[in-house]
């Protein structure tokens, strides 16, 4: 472009590029017009001085002495000035230039780049094209767009036919992606007229969209489609991250702790958002695999002569790319199975009264942070008997185990290695890829598979998948100094067995140590021994060995920390030294030297830079020699043990313990407690002689134990606990002192020594004599009107036809329970007579057969137990109209089945008051109606 003086004469010709370079960083461009005569000579300066002076404040782009402006002798118009033009770039503003340069304002012309005529002369334009990059750059972007565009369409073109490429062999070719990337850019090259310079350009530019095409190190390059808005989000986040980093650097250099913290928080926030967004770019819709199935199923249906309707649901559900890729094969196998074995031929279906067209429903949806994929068919279902037969024949399970299995467990046997139910190998399924392979494939993806089947109704296969594999929430545990991560999906619960109760919670079954967890036996695996960490790490193992086998004790007693984990068919308690936090970890693969190691799923780098190994729960299970069927075995052992324990089991009750005065220990049955609130003594108000506290927008009457019973005075100061009970629809609070606790235990209740109104007895709990508070009796003395009102309202509770109050016979050997249950039955409006055991009850019934409307009986009793009593009653014709409700602390399925067999109408847990009352009411209603 050319620079003109105010008279419109071109003075300088400078390329726009140079000008742009010179004016970078907010510099102004000036055209200075010095007059050699007046501005320089007259002021006794030299031109050189002037230029040197200029150089100190800016950059001189060009200098020109305009001799033409002087005029010539012939022309006669002699101007008395010799202009010296300087093209000058400086940060100095126009208004101070005259003072600085000692120059007249009129001699300083600011040059505006934007408004300056761009390349007015054609030769300048030519020059620009040759020397300056901007225009070619435009060209290149143009090419780039073209290139990307053509690559894109080509990719699309390659992509769309690929899934239709027909039924690929189930075991090979994970995804149709490989051919896409290397091919796409190549065909686009000829269509591009750009020279070689441009051809090399797209590589770095498109690198973020697709890895370098065809580099020889990339044996298999893949591309990923990402929504533009997502990329923009990423850009924004990256920008924010940079800003936050700058803030942090600044804060660190100024050493202000507060600012560092603020910047740290910001970075924390941005990083997690960035992580989430990046993970989103990996997400692909499951539709990409679902969409190939219509064709697969159609082809199959045709070759098998079946009519199959495939329905797809949840195409839009997104999963991590790696999972999508790994899911293709197993899913194909399962769908084929459904089509081949599940759906019957049209004739068969019509014969069964089903529509000739079978349906396979492929469904994906989110549930509890996981993705569930279901394959549901309405075919013939699995023949579980045949599966079991096969499994037994192949020695995978024993006949005994098979007997103890539910239908669902039997169906899931199909996933055992080496079991194929297909009688003959057909073309479609049975190509050597059994269900066990499906399962192991899904296991690798961190998925779980489950099968449900009903004969002639169909089969549902449910696959649970994690959303992503790269970052997983994990629990950190440690053994000695070594830390390990256990994927959270495998963690069922955490447990600490205190040193003193090892004997109760852990037992020996054969040679194996097992944990008793709510009636289930769970094998223990010591992380230290399964990984051979050495003796110094096995204090937990020694502790258990000491208690159970009398081995030498460790130096000091240790609590046993364990994680109950499950993976596939394994479920065991992993014993570790310490349990730490749950953190999100980035999974990194282990090198090739570890492929023989079974126990690890990878490694991760912790916040402190150390490396921690990620445990593979199933692999550890195998290392510890827990066979797959061991779980089943355990279960039968558990059942046997329970059976054996039955005879000796005491009544277990759940108690809520608290203190009246700090030294007076009290307890109430936990089931009666509605809530517990912590209050300050000053919150208690006294209104018309009654104490109340403000509670949930209303007033809650509260009382202390000493108001109704002869116990120590509770001092109303400091922090107090209010135990809220709900009695006959009223709420009342009992004041007590902390600490409070809830425990389940076997206790012998002494109902005589300390018996008094409001106290039903005492028991020894944890070395303290504890008063068992009878809340009904207490409230009855304090609020008699609640009960009068109640009994008056309820005489008809027994049913429409009955006259008067239903009379119940309560059979229970433990006096504590007898009194408790009687009391709440009575408060509910029934009259209750009691018997200590079955024999007494039977005699009472014999004496007056019509006296009782219902029998509530315990199961475990001396002389005659509940089952025998029920049997007796049912065998006598006089009692056909007598309902029997059983009360028990054992409510195992087997017990219930046995109860049903002998004619028990309902089974209820002791002290589950509401359910018991409901159950009694229902029974009475039912028998009255019959």
């Amino acid at each position: 472009m050319d620079i003109q003086n105010p008279q419109g004469r071109s003075v300088f010709a400078v390329s726009r590029f140079d000008l742009e370079q010179a004016t970078k960083g907010g510099k102004n461009l000036y055209l200075l017009e010095f007059d050699l005569i007046h501005d320089i000579e007259a002021k006794k300066k030299t031109a050189l001085d002037v230029l040197k002076n200029l150089e100190t404040t800016g950059a001189i782009l060009d200098v020109k002495l305009d001799l033409e402006a002087v005029g010539d002798l012939e022309g006669g118009d002699f101007s008395n000035r010799i202009p010296l033009y300087v093209l000058f770039a400086s940060i100095i503003e126009a208004d101070i230039m005259p003072a600085l340069l000692d120059l007249n304002q009129s001699a300083i012309h600011a040059v505006d780049l934007a408004s300056a005529p761009a390349a007015s002369a054609p030769e300048f334009a030519q020059e620009l094209l040759e020397t300056t990059p901007p225009t070619p750059e435009e060209d290149r972007t143009d090419d780039l767009v073209k290139e990307l565009f053509s690559a894109d369409t080509l990719a699309a073109a390659v992509e769309s036919p690929a899934p239709q490429a027909g039924p690929a062999p189930a075991a090979s070719s994970p995804a149709p992606t490989p051919p896409r990337a290397p091919e796409a850019p190549k065909p686009s090259a000829p269509s591009k007229p750009a020279p070689a310079a441009a051809a090399s350009e797209p590589e770095p530019a498109s690198a973020d969209a697709a890895p370098k095409p065809g580099g020889k190190t990339f044996t298999q390059s893949e591309t990923l489609r990402v929504h533009v808005s997502l990329l923009e989000d990423l850009m924004n986040l990256a920008g924010e991250l940079v800003l936050s980093r700058n803030q942090l650097m600044q804060a660190i250099s100024s050493n202000v702790l507060h600012q560092i913290q603020v910047a740290g928080q910001r970075i924390d926030l941005v990083t997690s958002e960035l992580q989430e967004t990046i993970m989103l770019t990996r997400m692909q819709t499951i539709g990409t695999i679902f969409n190939k199935f219509p064709r697969v199923v159609r082809d199959l249906a045709r070759s098998l002569g079946k009519q199959i309707d495939l329905q797809l649901e949840g195409n839009e559900v997104e999963l991590d790319k790696t999972i999508i890729e790994g899911l293709g094969d197993p899913l194909t196998h399962l769908v084929r199975n459904s089509a081949d074995h599940g759906i019957e031929t049209p004739e068969e279906r019509t014969a069964k009264g089903k529509s000739p067209t079978g349906t396979i429903l492929l469904k994906a949806y989110h549930e509890a942070g996981q993705v569930i994929v279901e394959i549901i068919d309405d075919g013939r279902g699995l023949n579980t008997a045949k599966i079991v037969e096969k499994a037994v024949a192949k020695g995978l399970i024993t006949a005994e185990q098979a007997r103890g299995m539910s239908e669902k467990e039997k169906a899931n046997l199909i996933f055992l290695p080496g079991l194929s139910t297909a009688e003959k190998v057909t073309d479609v399924s049975g190509r050597g890829v059994g269900m066990d392979v499906v399962k192991s494939n899904l296991d690798q993806l961190g998925g779980q598979v489950d099968i449900e089947t009903q004969p002639d109704k169909g089969t549902t296969i449910r696959i649970k998948l994690p959303l992503t594999l790269a970052i997983i929430p994990s629990l950190l545990v440690s053994v000695g100094e070594e830390r390990f991560a256990v994927p959270q999906v495998n963690v069922d619960e955490l447990l600490r067995v205190p040193a003193q109760s090892i004997g109760e919670r852990i037992e020996l079954v054969g040679d194996a140590e097992v944990l008793i967890l709510r009636g289930e036996l769970i094998p223990l695996v010591y992380l230290s021994s399964v990984l051979n960490l050495g003796d110094e790490f096995s204090s937990a193992a020694r502790m258990v060995g000491h208690v159970l086998r009398g081995e030498p004790a460790p130096e000091k007693p240790v609590d046993i920390n364990l994680v109950v984990v499950s993976a596939g068919q394994f479920r065991y308690g992993l014993v570790v030294d310490e349990l730490h936090d749950s953190v999100e970890i980035v999974v990194k693969p282990l090198g090739r030297h570890f492929k023989e190691c079974q126990g690890y799923a990878g490694a991760t780098i912790m916040g402190d830079g150390h490396v921690a190994l990620i445990l593979d729960v199933a692999g550890l299970g195998r290392l510890a020699d827990l066979s797959i069927t061991a779980g089943l075995e355990q279960k039968s052992v558990a059942l046997a043990k329970e059976e054996a324990a039955k005879g000796v089991r005491e009544d277990r009750i759940s108690l809520f313990t608290f203190r009246n005065t700090p030294t007076e220990h009290c307890a109430v049955p936990l089931d009666l407690v509605a809530r517990v609130e912590l209050i300050q003594a000053k919150d208690i108000e006294e209104v018309s002689g009654r104490r109340v506290i403000k509670y949930r927008g209303g007033s809650l009457p509260v009382f202390s134990l000493d108001q109704a019973a002869n116990v120590g005075m509770l001092e109303l100061s400091g922090e107090l606990v209010v135990i809220v009970f709900s009695i006959n629809g009223h709420e009342i609070g009992l004041l007590a002192s902390p600490p409070v606790d809830a425990m389940e235990l076997d206790v012998a209740i002494d109902a005589f020594t300390l018996r008094q109104p409001g106290i039903s007895g005492s028991a020894i709990i944890g070395e303290h004599t504890t008063l068992i508070v009878d809340i009904y009796e207490l409230v009855q003395t304090l609020q008699p009107d609640w009960f009068v009102e109640r009994t008056a309202l309820l005489p008809d509770a027994g049913g429409d036809g009955e006259v008067g109050v239903p009379n119940l016979l309560l059979v229970e050997d433990s006096e504590f329970f007898r009194n408790q249950v009687r009391r709440f039955l009575e408060t509910d409006g029934y009259t209750v007579e009691t018997a200590e055991d079955g024999l007494v009850a039977w005699n009472m019934l014999q004496a007056d057969p019509d006296r009782y409307d219902l029998v509530v009986t315990d199961i475990e009793m001396p002389n005659m137990d509940g089952f025998q009593l029920a049997e007796q009653i049912r065998s006598d014709a006089r009692f056909t109209g007598l309902p029997i409700v059983a009360l028990t602390s054992l409510a195992s399925e087997e017990d219930q089945a046995r109860g049903k067999a002998v004619g028990i109408d309902a089974y209820e847990i002791k002290l589950d008051k509401d359910r018991l009352l409901q159950s009694i009411y229902d029974c009475l209603q039912r028998y009255a109606a019959a």
Partner: protein, 146 residues
């Protein structure tokens, strides 16, 4: 000699026990003396553990043990040589770093049938460097999975 390679060869030399070994300098990524590693229970005995190398998990191998020269001791002079082998970074624990030696493949002699008890299959050959013999390690064979 196993390989038919020719041309110049630059080797980085180091001591494993008392044996002087060399690795083609082109497979070496870096050397460091970071000795903090996490052991991996159940791994082969020559694997010392894994290490965090700037966000990557690197397997560390006791070269002495792998070559059958006995366990290396970690001393002040011990170094870890990070090499690239089959797209993976692997660290080799060596006792001491020596010089870089420049020679030619043509000057590499076949491995003597028994050099100080080292398994011969792990070597390309030997060459002379000054007064000493350098055994040239075939890194892919050493780190192969047997």
């Amino acid at each position: 000699m196993k390989t038919q390679q020719s041309g110049p060869l630059q080797m980085s030399c180091f001591y494993v026990g008392s044996a002087l070994c060399g690795i083609d300098i082109r497979v070496i990524q870096e050397m460091n003396k970071q000795m903090e590693m996490t052991r991996v229970p159940g791994a082969p005995s020559y694997v010392l553990g894994i290490m965090n190398l700037r966000g990557r998990i690197v397997t560390i191998i006791d070269l002495g043990k792998k070559l059958g020269l006995g366990e290396s001791k970690k001393t002040e002079q011990s170094r870890i040589i990070i090499v690239n082998s089959r797209e993976e970074n692997i660290g080799l624990l060596v006792d001491r770093i020596a010089d870089v030696v420049t020679t030619r493949w043509e000057d590499v002699d076949p491995t003597p049938s028994n050099i100080k008890g080292i398994k011969g299959k792990y070597f390309h050959g030997v060459c002379k460097a000054g007064k000493e013999l350098v055994a040239i390690l075939d890194i892919d064979a050493v780190l192969g999975d047997e």
